[in-house]
Subunit: 143 residues, 2 copies
């Protein structure tokens, strides 16, 4: 294995996380944070789910997922309905308001990425997306 590439990935990954933390830290006024965004994305993609499922999909502790879901419910972005089969459990479902907010937030993110990457070639963007996906899969599989 080429050690130089490995070192580059290792370093740039640390820097990337630092930068993204900086960017997403200051936004006090934003209606959605990254965690909420991914949670809504899950519900939007896969329909209803309970806290346990959400936590496992997002690789969060159940308690964290529970608080996030409760926060989103408070804002009216998700609806919580009791599971009549299993009275311990609930179904969470994204609301129309939640869908709207989620789509607006997503569009804002897309705009930001679009500006960041507007000088890249189509090849580079495609390759980057593909490799990021592959990397995330590797994490899922191996950690």
């Amino acid at each position: 294995m080429n050690e130089k590439s490995l070192e580059m990935i290792e370093l740039e990954m640390a820097v990337l996380v630092r930068r993204i933390t900086t960017i997403t830290a200051g936004k006090r006024n934003a209606k959605l944070d990254r965690a909420a965004y991914l949670l809504l994305q899950q519900l939007s993609d896969n329909g209803t789910a309970g806290v346990k499922t959400l936590a496992s999909e997002l690789q969060l502790d159940i308690s964290t997922a529970s608080r996030q879901a409760a926060a989103l419910e408070g804002k009216g972005y998700v609806k919580k309905t009791p599971n009549t089969q299993d009275k311990r459990a609930y179904f969470y479902q994204i609301t129309e308001l939640g869908t709207n907010e989620w789509m607006m937030y997503k569009q804002a993110r897309l705009d930001k990425f679009s500006k960041l990457l507007n000088e890249w070639s189509d090849d580079e963007r495609e390759s980057f997306g593909h490799l990021l996906h592959k990397f995330n899969q590797a994490i899922n599989k191996k950690m």
Copy 2:
């Protein structure tokens, strides 16, 4: 611009940050955290620096950099010497102990990445490192 690639990057980036947060969150016993690691890296690469410089290089608030530097000084990983030219300021320098810890932490990270990426081709690893670097530069320039 190919919208599909953009959407892929946007989504995978959110997932990546989530995964990395999960990975780095639980490590109570680790001697270094990511922030400290980057700070030591700066001092290791560029020699001495004051808090203000470190903060600006890491894109942290000065107060945060100050606390991190103080924490590292407490552990004996950096040495703080007064700047005799400007008595408001100090020079921070990595110690031998700090260098050792930093190198061990770095090696542990490299091992982890090595395992994650061991099924990738050299081309993929090189390309990923290069694109990550390019992305970080874009963030630096445009945000």
